[in-house]
Structure formats: C-alpha cells, structure tokens
C-alpha cells in the first residue's frame, strides 16, 4: 500500500530536505523501516540502539496515535498518511523519584504496558503504584470495584477490612463475589478474586469490624484509605481516624441512583465533618437494604474512587480534594460542589476539640433507648394463632408499594411509613392493630409516630416483620 509519511521540520535535513516521503508498506512499522532504508541518517533520531522507537517519538496513522491501535503492526491502507510527531520532554538531571522504588519484573512490564506507555504514568509512575499501600474499608458495593481496579492497576499492598458474610442479595452489585461465595466471609472471597486478577500484589485481610479501638493502629500501616462503608458511624470513624493519622480519605457513597465521591484530606482542605458536621437523625437515610440501590451505581462510584486513588499515588494535581462530585445515574448528570475546610471543624479545624476517636454510635444517635421498650410486640407465630382463632385484628403494612408487590401477608392493608400519620384515620382505633414492615424497625417507628400524633388505639409491633412471617409461619412468602 502506498502511504505518505510527513517528516517533521527538524528531521527534513536528514530526509533529503523532503517534507513528505512516499513508501510502500503494509504496516506503520514497515513504513518506518522503508523510510529509514531510504534515508539512513534518520534512523538514530527515530530509533534507539535497541531498535525500539524512541519513547518521545509518536507515530500517527490518519490522526490516530498507533499506540491506541496495534503499535508498529498497525495495518495501513492505500493513500493513508503517517505523521511523526515528537513529545518534547526533558528536565534537570537529579531525579529523586527514581530512588528506592521497586523494580518491575518482565512479567509486570508486560502486564502494565498500557500504563507504561502513557506519559502520565510511565515506568516511574508504575513503580510508585507498586510501592503504594491502600486500605479499603469494606468490600461490598463500593469496595468491589475499588479493590478490583486497584489490584488490576498493580497497587503493591492492598488491605481490606470487612467482617461480613456474602449473601445472595449482595450479588446484584458486589461483583467481586460470585454465586459460589454465598455464605463465605466476604474478606476471603475478595482476597481470592483479587489474587486471581493480580498475583503480583500483596493482599492483607483484616476480618474485623473497624472500631475506635483498632482504627488508628490499622490506618498507620497504609498511605491511603478508601471509604467503602455503608453506615454513618463508620464514615465518621474513618474520617476522624484519617485526620488524626494525616491520611487522605477517598470517599464514595450511594443512595438509590445517586452517588457522591470526593477526597477528604485535612492537610489540604475539607474533611468529611467540614461537609457534614452532624449525622442525619437515625432512620432518616435508609440503608441499601431499606431504600434499594441500582446495582451498577456503586460500580460507577467505586471506579471513580479507584481512579482518584491511583491519581493520588501518581501525585496528580487535579484530584477530588475540596471537590464533591455528585452524580445522578438516572438523569445521567454530574454536578460538582466546591468544598472548603471549616476553620471551626472540631477535628481538622484551627482549634480541634476531637483529638481521639469517640463513640460513633452514640454520636449518630444509635445508642438512644429504642422506643420498643414501651412498645407492645407480637411474634409472627402468635399473630398467626390469633388470626386462626378468629380474633378481630387489623394488620397494617407500612412498607413501600414496590415491596408489597414482591411479598405480602394476606389480608393486610398497605399504608407506607411516610404516609401513616397523615392517613391515621384509615386505621380503626377501636380494633386491635398489628403493624408490620420488612424486619420490624420501620413498623416500630410507625407506631411511635402514630402514638406521638395522638392515635388512641392499641398498636402492636410484629417482631421481625414479614421476614419472620416467612420464616415461622408461611415459607411460601418470598424473602427479599
């Protein structure tokens, strides 16, 4: 195939003064060979003495860098144009970043080749990734993509903290775990999967709950912490521990189809408390089990967290420090909010009052005596017996319509939790009323809310909700 090679100005002197040269070839590599055969003086400016294209020489086939194609084996068509464009690189001699970085084996060089040929990473960047240590809190919805991408990227030492066990409902989004892993500790399933992705890295498992007693000690051994947790007390714990140990906290969170991501780093700006000084009242923000989540959403947010972690390792300037990325997967819109350190922040501000880790459950209001102390309760079995005896009981279901579609107890009336006070008059206060939800928590809240609103009738909470009903009374009712 006849192709035209454009010669950069500086090299025209070595190409007989020509700005373009036509050669016959089937690949770009062959075209360059033809070119240097015609003009041997060009060769040393394009190739090093190992006959490899010099790293700063870029070859474009019809405006596309052949690195994004098949390199020197990229096929050419009749009439194609090849352009040789240099990157201009240089700098002073002393290169401190090269000292004390781990070498890469031949296998690793082959594995990370797509990183090595990028100027933003390069050999040194990959060595820094290998030298890096990252601790991931949680290996669930967010932790799954984070772990997998950091392992693939070659982060030298990955720590994972999780004490949970793989359940079937995890598999919709926690793609690090597979069907065969149901029932296994998540940490073992994650470790196995990551080892399979990349056997060259070290994986350290910490099968424990993260607490105020162990957090500082755990964090001390890693450079970067990734927050993949699913509850507020732990988020505040991770944040405070990161501030106290001066580590960056790569944050991600999800709710239904909205995601957030940021990098909290007290020495550079805002921490999590600067953004959210107080947790929401308990029960206001449902967990994934209660509110649901689009499975792919934590995949997107977690991949963003992995992206930011790698950029931090490489020393990139434009990370999400002091930026809150907010993303709506349904509308497919990204928004960004600027964050700033709050000078009054109790943990990272000018006069910090929090200098040790505290009781985060209490901070989030979860240690308040639950209202069930004064709440009348009934078990599923007892309720079934009373109904069978013909007792006059009305059963109110306070779950969401979508849940009612999946599974219901026969003869129940649906009034979702957030409507129950407004629709109070639909509940006959002269009859005995049993209130249920999925697990027993929302129904307890409904009862408290109704009593506080002045509902005069007798309200009884179904302990364990429809889940208990399925377990004890009627296994044909699906659990979800």
């Amino acid at each position: 195939m006849q192709v035209t090679i454009s010669i950069p100005t500086a090299l025209r002197h070595f190409a007989g003064g020509n700005a373009t040269i036509r050669v016959d070839a089937i690949t770009t590599g062959e075209a360059l060979e033809q070119l240097t055969a015609l003009h041997p003086e060009l060769r040393k400016h394009l190739f090093n003495d190992k006959n490899e294209l010099r790293s700063f020489v870029n070859v474009y086939l019809n405006e596309e860098d052949v690195r994004h194609r098949e390199g020197s084996s990229t096929p050419v068509n009749e009439g194609d144009s090849i352009m040789i464009v240099p990157s201009i690189a240089g700098g002073a001699t002393a290169a401190p970043e090269v000292k004390n970085l781990p070498e890469l084996s031949h296998e690793e060089i082959a594995r990370y080749s797509r990183h090595l040929i990028m100027p933003e990473v390069g050999l040194v960047g990959q060595q820094r990734i290998k030298a890096a240590s990252v601790l991931m809190i949680g290996t669930g919805g967010l932790g799954a993509p984070v772990g997998m991408y950091l392992a693939a990227a070659g982060v030298g030492r990955l720590g994972i903290v999780d004490f949970d066990v793989v359940e079937a409902s995890n598999l919709q989004r926690q793609i690090i775990h597979g069907t065969a892993d149901v029932g296994r500790p998540k940490i073992e399933s994650a470790r196995d999967r990551l080892r399979e992705i990349n056997p060259h890295i070290e994986i350290e498992t910490h099968e424990t709950r993260l607490t105020s007693e162990n957090a500082l000690r755990l964090f001390a051994n890693y450079e970067i912490i990734v927050d993949g947790t699913d509850n507020f007390p732990t988020r505040y714990l991770v944040n405070d521990a990161c501030v106290l140990t001066n580590k960056p906290n790569v944050y991600g969170s999800i709710f239904r189809f909205e995601g957030q991501a940021s990098v909290f780093w007290a020495k550079r700006g805002a921490c999590y408390r600067c953004l959210y000084p107080e947790p929401p009242p308990p029960g206001l923000v449902p967990s994934c089990a209660e509110g649901g989540v689009l499975g792919v959403l934590p995949g997107i947010v977690g991949a963003i967290q992995a992206n930011e972690t790698i950029k931090l390792i490489l020393g990139a300037q434009d990370t999400l420090v002091n930026r809150l990325l907010v993303f709506d997967a349904w509308q497919m819109r990204f928004r960004e909010l600027k964050l700033r350190k709050d000078p009054q922040c109790p943990v990272c501000g000018e006069q910090p009052t929090i200098k040790e880790l505290i009781d985060y459950e209490a901070f989030c209001g979860l240690r308040q005596a639950p209202p069930t102390g004064e709440l009348e309760e009934i078990s599923a079995t007892e309720l079934q017996q009373q109904l069978q005896r013909g007792e006059d009981i009305q059963v109110i279901d306070v779950r969401e319509p979508s849940e009612y579609q999946i599974a219901r107890i026969a003869g129940t009336k649906l009034i979702p939790l957030n409507e129950v006070v407004n629709r109070m008059t639909e509940i006959d206060s002269t009859r005995q009323t049993v209130v249920h939800c999925k697990g027993g928590v929302r129904s307890a809240k409904a009862i408290t809310a109704l009593q506080q609103a002045g509902f005069p009738g007798r309200l009884i909470n179904l302990r364990g909700g429809i889940t208990a009903w399925s377990n004890e009374v009627d296994p044909t009712v699906p659990k979800y």
Binding site: H45, V85, G90, A92
Partner: protein
C-alpha cells in the same frame, strides 16, 4: 545562533519564574534563516508531567505541539525550538534532555534560582546526538512587526 526579541525573552523569563519551583515549558516560534534562527513569539505550554515530577521534568505532549504548530502556521511562523526551565539548577542540558532531543531545534534553558531567573542559554544537539553545543543567544528587535 538564535535571535530573539526582548519581548519574547522577557515572557520566557516571567513564565519560568511564575512556574517555579516546577519546570515550565513552551515553544519558540519564528523563522529558520540561512544559518541561524529568529524567534518572534513564544507559545507557553502547560507542563504535562504529574505533580511529583514537575520539579525536574517537563513534557509537551504531541497534540499540544501540533496545536502550537497550527497556531504558528496561522501566523506564518515555524516552531524553531523549545524553552524550559531548571529550578535551582544550571541552564545546561542534562542527559535526559539529550536523550529526548532532536537536532536542528534550539533548546533554550532558563536557570531559576530561588524563584529568580539566574541565566538563559540556548543549545543545539549535534547531528550525531552525542552532545549539545551552546549557541549564541542574541536579543534583537524585529525589523518588521509581525501581523496580528
């Protein structure tokens, strides 16, 4: 020998000082003359290296070079060379500079010590790539002003 207008030289110096302690970089636009070059304008580029490397490495990506060449063409100029700075280091090319250079171009290096320009020197690579040879850097006002 490379001739450069005082305006362009000042811009190079200011760019080097403002990017300190990082290396700055940019293109020199002008004309190839009989046995010398003249620089009419400079085209500053943002150093594409990652933060940790910018203190002693610079990078102009090929797409940015092409952008500069397009601009130059539009003004009837050519890319005749490049400038970059050496923070707290002499205005002499390093081995790394040598390995990443091409002959014909002028490589202007600015030494910036503690935030202030200490020296500006220009270099050309020998055709055999063995070393750089320093060339005379002369400040010269343009005979005819460049069309805006």
């Amino acid at each position: 020998m490379i001739q450069i207008t005082s305006g362009s030289l000042n811009e190079v110096a200011r760019h080097a000082e403002s990017d300190y302690p990082y290396e700055c970089c940019g293109l020199l636009l002008g004309e190839f003359l009989e046995s010398s070059k003249s620089v009419a304008e400079i085209f500053p580029i943002s150093n594409a290296r990652e933060e940790a490397a910018k203190r002693n490495r610079f990078l102009i990506r090929p797409d940015e070079l092409r952008r500069g060449e397009e601009y130059a063409k539009g003004r009837n100029l050519a890319v005749v060379g490049f400038y970059h700075s050496h923070p707290d280091h002499p205005a002499e090319p390093s081995q790394y500079d040598l390995e990443h250079a091409w002959p014909i171009y002028s490589y202007v290096i600015v030494s910036v010590k503690s935030g202030q320009v200490a020296a500006i020197r220009s270099w050309e690579q020998e055709f055999d790539r063995s070393r750089f040879t320093e060339e005379v850097l002369e400040v010269r006002e343009p005979a005819v002003s460049v069309a805006k």
